[in-house]
Symmetry: C2
Subunit: 93 residues, 2 copies
DNA sequence: TATCTATTTAGAAATATTTCTAAATAGATT
DNA sequence: AATCTATTTAGAAATATTTCTAAATAGATA
């Protein structure tokens, strides 16, 4: 929900890698899990955090849950960085 | 040094608040510590992490150490966010 | 030189996070 | 209905992080 949550979620390399995988389109939890050396349960845990922070959304189809990237959530982080980073070419919401 | 380190450092609200304080100019460790309900030792620990990640630099003057903001380090984060966030108005280095 | 002041370091306790295995859920297929 | 498949949840173990107190450092002042 807040900036801390977003940052904390992005701090873990695995979660950034999941986000990168989803850049090419929606994937099932299984597909995501099999690209990492982690159990499905662990990947499920990371997906939950990503979902809670709003970085991904899910849609169900048959037996599968497809995860998709939601890029709008990056806005708050950009806004904060531009504020402290002293840049001024970033439009306000 | 890497993106994970930067993100991890920014994930903690206290450290973002320290960065925000430094936006108005260099401050001593003591000045920073007295604006938070934390011991000097704890603030020193956070300053060390911020320094390691390159967000701040220090200069010594007499008995004091002044900490200053180094905003160039935000670039890598911006680059990553623009890549996954699908924005394309951010110049490459 | 002795002491004061600002800050850091060491080490321990408290807390939080990540990962695993095993079990649970729930929808699809036979 | 029984079973299979994809995924999540629960709970525990391993690991990492934050915070504190007490001690150390090191430069400044008396």
């Amino acid at each position: 929900m807040g900036l801390s949550e977003s940052m904390k979620v992005l701090a873990e390399p695995i979660r950034r890698q999941i986000i990168e995988r989803l850049k090419t389109g929606p994937k099932t939890a299984g597909e995501i899990a099999s690209s990492f050396d982690l159990t499905n349960a662990t990947v499920s845990y990371h997906l939950k955090l990503l979902k809670q922070a709003g970085f991904i959304t899910e849609t169900k189809d048959k037996n599968y849950i497809y995860y998709s990237l939601n890029s709008t959530v990056f806005e708050d982080i950009l806004t904060w960085i531009y504020q402290v980073g002293g840049k001024n070419d970033h439009a306000e919401k």
